[in-house]
Amino acid sequence: MHGPNNTMKCLRDPTATLHDLYNDPNGTSHDNFPRLVAEHYTQIFHTSEAFREIPSLDIRSPPTTFPDRSLVRFRAMVQDTSPSSEMYLARSPYGKCGGWGIELTEEENGEVDYTNLRECNVLWAVSVPAESAWCAEELDGSQTRSASGSTSAYLPQHSHKFPHPTLPHIGVQVKIYDTDSAEKLKSTDIVTFVGILTTESSISLSYSPADLLTARTSVSSTGTGLESRDEVPTLHVLYIREHTATLLSRPYPSTATPDADEHSAPAKVRSELISWMAEEALGGDREAAEWMLLASIARVQSRSPPLLPPSLNLTHFPSPSPTPSTTDAPPTFLPTLSTVLAQILPLTHTLPLSLDVLNKDAFVPESKEEDLHAGVLQLPQGTVLLVTEGGVHEGKLVEQGILNVHALQEVMNTQTLAYKFPFSQFSFPTDISCIVVSEGSKSALFRTNISVPLTAPKDPEAIARLYKPVEDIKLPSAERLAAFRDLLVGARAGKVHVSEETSEYIQRDFVRQRQQDRSVTSDDLIRRMSIAKLYALSLHETELTVDVWERAKAFDERRRAACASTTTSSATV
């Protein structure tokens, strides 16, 4: 019954199909019509081909390029769930279907049958921040609608609700009629909404006195009413499609068996990936590249007890030297590392810190005038955040700055972000792996779990290479790049088992070490264990073996030795 015809009809005129469904004699019950709608449309667009047929709402095709009441899909991050839910008339007096922005003509007497009122949830969703281009492409499909020249001129409304307001993005008011599924959505969740796009005033987003209660006579003027509210793109959701935690899904462990194809064995891919990262972004430092790899596959494994991604500090990373040749370059230089990460990770964002950014930008979402303004750190779960301290110079950190530093430190320490509401704060769980890049022997602003010194040549030319523009990056072949991505995305979702034998070994190891060296503490054990686990993940191993443990330990020891040597050498200088 759900043939291609049906699909086509849904695509052409979703409102009509909605009415058809409502009037469908078979579906007698309207008790939970929204649920029925969700099931119906999920069924229709079940196959990925059909799903791809739905035009995608994104930066390339912003809301203005769609006719009113088109069917669109919108992969978005839930930004704000605080707008109060709305009531709508689910059934007009003539028995027609209500909701989904369908207009009803008002009755003469204005009488409303309140038993037909239903609730719909309203929230604000934005295009996924920190999403890398290749990930977007993979999810959107290659179907790119003819890019009209005007798209670049699209100015999103309510840009304060996007974590990075200066970047191109889309913000849409979302109305969800199936309230059960709406309840599940939380801030920073990523889902794809499929629904009917219209333009509506954002009644729920901002507050107005209950003006309809105020007596209006010819003399008493009506102050702020609803008419002053601006219109925003609104998506009336038919159904919601969820994504996996990693947004993309890749097998773990990698399906390629080591002996079948030497070329695609995880260990081989891993080593190539490290070489490529080291070569392109880290001045040839393979150790640093390997740490970078581990940090970017770390994730929150458990909150109680806290097994959080370790924060990494890449020290001795030179600041960009102001070379005269690049006069018209932007004032803040992004290390090439930022671009490299974006090539291989689905979700990554670079936060170039400077005093100005720290003192002026809001890192933490804050509710002002009952509108939740986004903060820089309102990022989807699974984002790798690259923080560069190269732009920080001497100066004063004002209160906002201190709070911002504190917020980011809190994310690193506890993976929670406290949103500010009037008279209260609400802590939201985050899953952001932080990599701090700093010039000195340790980060000026943050305490991290692990710090790794970059051992790369420090001559101006080499420094310039660390900040080379995108065009100069040598991309590996498409096939290799895909293998890199598979490795990382797979590892992010992977699981490692620890055998009895290994854990016994680790315990003995710790006790022995402590007897040799008093300075070894339980913190060291904890750090080593989390590193070993990541090490195993990066190799797509299913079990943490004694071998991997030893390798990881040696790897960590090398880092500690390097740290010690660089700090002493810099101290003597």
Partner: protein, 927 residues
């Protein structure tokens, strides 16, 4: 909805005509004033803002008035938009009474009661005897008979007795108040409230809806009120007014004080002119997320936090129009939020078009305020942002709450269609929702708590008499909601907790449950556990409130130790468990963050005081991590907090003292990141001794190497970090919520008293501690224990007794307190040079050994100067130091030497001349 007969006068008309007595003193009007004027009986003169109470004087009194033909003037309550009009039940009876009045005291009564000629239609009212069977009025679409409802409510008000509530509560298994005397249970509660209302001039009666259910005949009123508040509340208002008059009448006849003769008449007239309001409350509060369309126009109760409130909005209730031509006046009442301006003069002889103009000062306004109520953090589901709802509050409830308050509101849920474009007839089938509030209760004692000090006293009282009604005490009122919701569960919990407290190993069990993921550190956990229970605060009640002298019962604990010994983790745990835990990091918090700061509210442009961590944790535990990294300014605040338990603020013109009755749990790192065992604790941490001495317990948490311990630690950690589904150890521990409940229960219910035996033991232990300072070899005493330690011991013993749920502090409590103290002193106050305990180390930062050394040095210096080496020129600084060095068996630090010389100089015994290397020390002659 029955369409009302043309029988009620507008109260405005009455208002006008009250001054009009001489014109219309017609005795025939007598019976109508109460019986027939339904809810509208209130004159606007009683309303607070913008009421034209004085207006009549300025207006000609003889305007012909036309009440609007379409509607009766309805109840003037802003919160109720009822279309129902009520015929009072007690008409005949009261008519009789009024008749009597007429006869007896025509002048005084008549003046107030008489109705004007222009409101003549009203006269027909009393002729409709409401108790006639054919007059049955029902709420539209239901079988609810309004007359019956009124009758029932009347009997409820008259006959409700406390004993019903007690029995009802007992049936539901709710903890109920024990009545002092059987008579108390027999007292007619609401009748006494009515009297009190008359005496105080109060017009609001708060009605605990649980009482409706408790009184058997009125049981169904509860559901009627919930389902049809718009109809039932006005009916109840009417009954209330009728009864007010009746009771006043009875009292007058009984010759009660203040109700005799003229005075009584005036009282009655006063009652007549008022609008009486029933304000129901006491429903179980629901989450605002659960409000749904089926609640529309029903009575609901929600909790929340006020985040903003508009200024008072004058809400026009009745518009007053006057014809410019013939001066004919018309009143138009608000109808569905609109006022229809008459297009032409209704007087037939005039009928001019467009001559009606609004006379502002004759219009009637009501106060209205829109409040935005946000969900409280505890009500928000995990990972969700809080929702908000709009509240409309009216009349007396305006300005009762301020932003930041926690409220429990009872109100009618409304949905109003939204017209996206006001000029179009299409609506997007969208509805706006809000609450018309009928009752507000300010929350108290909650986590965020109401900061009384920011309020003027008396100004924020929720209006109305009979707040509690049910004979429950104040504490019960606070718990009203808990009481409603799953009382049995609470009971069960209480039972369980009591059972737990009887376990012999409860102390160990609780300590183990405190931070299960942290290995060992048993004594530290026990100390913190007792801190959570806290000692009893003394003389808080007798001392005369916040200002009175008060001995703190809060126990402060400081953890000092090597990095990586999970100090922060312990703090995090405590923060989660403590009833009002606040966690802050010394590094991140400025003085402002810890105390309170003054900001300007963006909406009201008023200065408001926002509380910081310390004030927020009033009555709880404030956990401060990185205590040593705190700025000096912040630390100085703590001096006050830890002993005085207050925070003083003088900022932006606001000078105030806020209560911060908080226990402090702090963690600090040693100066050199590793603890130096050869130094005293004050040298190891960068904190002033004055502050350190304010901690009852100071624990050194040091990292020791021990194979067996290490092995178990490793096992613990490996299990925690490498397993896929980590568990917090299979040990027998209490879950977090139970532990928290246990502590909260003990804190709120247990106030142990020290027994004779325990006090003897306290004295004995104190003497032992002090004696430990005696050193037979030296005449100088080490200070081992000070009165501070005695106080600490008392607090700890009390906390221990609380932990056992014991009403008395007994011997074992003191023994354990002494043990904990000794352990803590052992680790923290041991002088590293002598190995002896010396509290002076903590109190002054200078240990006995050091003091002795200084004394010796001092003597040596004086001897040296007096001796031959001195002469009149004195001794060179460096030489003196060298000489002393050669004499002494221990190394003399130059800092010590400098200190000694400075002291001598201050005493005027020596004099130092010259600069730097050429400094000379001279003996002052004759000194």
């Amino acid at each position: 909805m029955s369409s009302p007969p043309q029988d009620f006068s507008s109260s405005d008309a009455a208002d006008v005509d009250m001054q009009d007595q001489s014109v219309s003193g017609a005795p025939s009007a007598q019976p109508l004033f109460f019986a027939s004027t339904p809810s509208a009986a209130g004159t606007p003169a009683r309303q607070r803002v913008g009421t034209p109470s004085s207006a009549p004087d300025s207006e000609p009194l003889d305007f012909p008035t036309t009440p609007t033909s379409s509607s009766t003037l309805k109840n003037r309550r802003g919160d109720i938009h009822s279309s129902l009009s009520i015929t009072p039940v007690a008409a005949s009876r009261r008519a009789r009474r009024a008749q009597g009045l007429q006869d007896g005291d025509l002048d005084s009564d008549g003046t107030h009661l008489s109705m004007p000629a222009s409101s003549a239609p009203a006269l027909s009212a009393p002729t409709v005897p409401s108790d006639e069977p054919d007059e049955i009025r029902a709420i539209w679409g239901t079988t609810v008979n309004i007359n019956e409802t009124m009758q029932t409510f009347r009997s409820f008000l008259l006959d409700f007795k406390l004993k019903y509530r007690v029995a009802y509560d007992r049936d539901r298994g709710v903890r109920t108040r024990v009545l002092a005397t059987p008579e108390e249970g027999e007292a007619r509660l609401y009748v006494s409230y009515l009297r009190r209302m008359r005496q105080t001039g109060e017009t609001n009666l708060n009605l605990d809806m649980a009482n409706l259910s408790a009184y058997p005949p009125s049981r169904k009123l509860h559901s009627q009120l919930t389902k049809y508040p718009q109809e039932v509340i006005p009916a109840m208002d009417q009954v209330l007014k009728d009864l007010m008059l009746e009771v006043a009448d009875q009292d007058q006849q009984a010759g009660m004080a203040g109700m005799q003769g003229q005075q009584g008449e005036e009282e009655i007239a006063d009652i007549m002119s008022k609008v009486y309001k029933i304000r129901p409350f006491g429903m179980p509060a629901i989450n605002m997320r659960d409000l749904n369309p089926t609640d529309t126009d029903k009575l609901v109760c929600i909790k929340g936090l006020v985040i903003r409130a508009t200024p008072v909005i004058p809400d026009m209730k009745v518009a007053f129009f006057r014809c410019l031509k013939c001066n004919h006046t018309v009143q138009v009442e608000i109808d569905r939020g609109k006022i229809d301006e008459p297009a032409l003069c209704p007087r037939e002889v005039c009928a001019s078009v467009g001559t009606m103009s609004l006379v502002h000062n004759r219009c009637e306004f009501a106060d209205r305020q829109v409040i935005r109520l946000q969900e409280t953090p505890d009500a928000v589901p995990d990972g969700q942002t809080p929702h908000t709802v709009s509240l409309s509050v009216y009349d007396e409830l305006v300005d009762v709450s301020k932003p930041g308050d926690r409220l429990v509101v009872t109100g009618i849920f409304r949905s109003v269609p939204v017209r996206v474009n006001p000029r179009q007839r299409t609506i997007k089938s969208l509805f706006k929702t809000f609450l018309d509030v009928v009752h507000v209760r300010l929350g108290s004692g909650d986590r965020l708590g109401l900061d009384r000090s920011t309020r003027t006293t008396g100004g924020d009282r929720v209006p109305g008499v009979g707040g509690v009604g049910g004979g429950a005490d104040d504490e019960d009122e606070d718990n009203a909601d808990d009481r409603e919701q799953g009382m049995s569960r609470r009971e069960e919990m209480e039972m369980k907790l009591r059972e737990l407290s009887q376990q012999p190993n409860i102390y160990d069990l609780l300590a183990r449950s405190l931070a299960p993921s942290i290995w060992a550190m048993d004594d530290v956990k026990k100390g913190i556990l007792l801190q959570l229970f806290g000692g009893t605060n003394k003389s808080i009640a007798r001392g005369g409130g916040a200002g009175g002298p008060r001995y703190r019962g809060d126990i402060n604990v400081l953890l000092v130790g090597d990095p990586g010994v999970s100090k922060s983790q312990i703090l995090q745990y405590v923060h989660k468990i403590a009833p009002r835990g606040v966690y802050t990091s010394g590094k991140g918090s400025s003085a402002v963050g810890l105390t309170a700061y003054v900001t300007r509210d963006p909406d009201s442009k008023q200065l408001v005081l926002e509380s910081g961590a310390l004030v927020l944790s009033d009555g709880g535990v404030c956990c401060i991590d990185e205590f040593d990294k705190m700025s000096d300014a912040t630390r100085s605040v703590l001096h006050e907090v830890m002993e005085q338990q207050t925070v003083s603020i003088a900022k932006a013109g606001i000078i105030t003292t806020l209560n911060a009755r908080t226990s402090i749990l702090a963690a600090a790192n040693p100066i050199g990141s590793k603890y130096n065992r050869n130094d005293t604790i004050t040298k190891n941490i960068d904190l002033p001794p004055t502050l350190i001495s304010r901690f009852d317990l100071l624990y050194l948490v040091l990292d020791e190497v021990d194979e067996a311990l290490d092995r178990r630690l490793a096992q613990h950690l490996v299990g925690l970090y490498l397993e896929d589904a980590p568990e917090t150890g299979g040990q027998d521990i209490l879950p977090l919520d139970q532990l928290s409940a246990y502590i909260t229960y003990a804190r709120s219910r247990m106030n142990p008293v020290i027994t004779e035996e325990a006090s003897d033991e306290l004295v004995r232990c104190y003497v032992i501690l002090r004696k430990a300072g005696d050193d037979p070899r030296s005449n100088e005493k080490r200070i081992t224990a000070t009165t501070r330690q005695l106080e600490s011991m008392i607090r700890l013993s009390e906390a221990h007794a609380r932990m056992r749920f014991s009403p008395f502090v007994e011997l074992e409590d003191v023994k354990e307190a002494y043990r904990l103290m000794r352990e803590a002193i052992n680790t923290s106050a041991r002088d590293p040079t002598t190995g002896e305990i010396d509290m002076g180390l903590l109190d002054t930062g200078v240990g006995r050994q050091q003091r002795k050394l200084r004394g010796d040095m001092r003597k040596a210096v004086l001897v040296m100067l007096d001796g031959s080496a001195g002469g009149t020129r004195g001794v060179r600084w460096a030489d003196a130091l060298q000489q002393l060095e050669s004499q002494s068996s221990v190394r003399i630090s130059s800092a010590e030497f400098q200190q000694v010389i400075r002291e001598l100089e201050q005493e005027g015994l020596v004099k130092v001349v010259g600069e730097r290397e050429r400094r000379m020390i001279r003996r002052v002659e004759g000194a």
